[in-house]
Symmetry: C2
Subunit: 199 residues, 2 copies
Amino acid sequence: MTPIEFWFDFASPYAYFGALQVDEVAARHDREVVWRPFLLGAAFKATGMQPLTNMPIRGDYARRDWARTARGLSVPFRLPDNHPFASVVAARAFYFIEQGDAETAIRFARHVFALTFGDGRDVTDRALVLDIAAGAGADAAALAAALDTPALKQALRARTEEAIARGIFGSPFFIVDGEPFWGADRLPMIDEWLSRGGW
Amino acid sequence: MTPIEFWFDFASPYAYFGALQVDEVAARHDREVVWRPFLLGAAFKATGMQPLTNMPIRGDYARRDWARTARGLSVPFRLPDNHPFASVVAARAFYFIEQGDAETAIRFARHVFALTFGDGRDVTDRALVLDIAAGAGADAAALAAALDTPALKQALRARTEEAIARGIFGSPFFIVDGEPFWGADRLPMIDEWLSRGGW
């Protein structure tokens, strides 16, 4: 059975909520989850969108909805002062760590989300990202040396281009047996899709 | 108990799905539903959005998602050739009919949605809108005479301005005890919100 692809930008609050819920859905159907950070800003250029928090009216709704969603899930939520921020350091770090071990990379990603949206920390700060990587069991010194290499930059760029080429325009975005689902609030639909074997 | 406000544009496929599902949620909590058509294009001007079908990548996803959602609900779906169309005639007709009787107006609205997105009919056609009105039990001759009057134009304009002033930027959009919910896929969250008495 193919894994559920979980595409996201580390700067996306809805991806934080998706990350907290996708495993339960996947486990119910004996599916693995492949985590795929990408740079949502590049997709926004392709679709003519911009970050929700920068949009009139929609930004106000989003802030209210994030806080409400967190209360509903009984998880902490604090929007970082620098939101929407560029998530390139965390995303590059993820792919570096994943080259060594996918589970370590996922553990790293969870910690990034928890600190970013649970505590409102600034994960554009390289020192913090390296700390998180070390805490997740990755080699922080090797990561520090790799962060600005052309190979790692290209790895993230390739994932972002893959996302856009496959029609991924938002975060989180799930691909299940080739079927695209946009938004954390579509996880119940994914659950039903897997239960019914599609429709 | 206050009714659930159901704001929508008659040209919105997601509103069609919302219209087919909102009653069940409302009935479970002994709530009435107040139907409130408005012109989404005016809200788009305020937020910098445009119709989904006109957006690169997002439009392709939307078309796939509408067809899939319809199959999942076992309801017919056919996107009219003229989509996205201006829904001003149907929306004005709704408010004219509602002045006489709200239940008749809701019946009219259901027929509009069924013909528009079940059969792909063109409800910018006044003759069709008058037929639907007559079929719902409204006075079609009186409606025909009223459609272009300043009073009816103003009634719709006022609702659209009210929507934007209240932060309504999409379709469908629900207000439940003052709490805003955007999207037909938030009906399960509304259900839970009403069950728990908010959170």
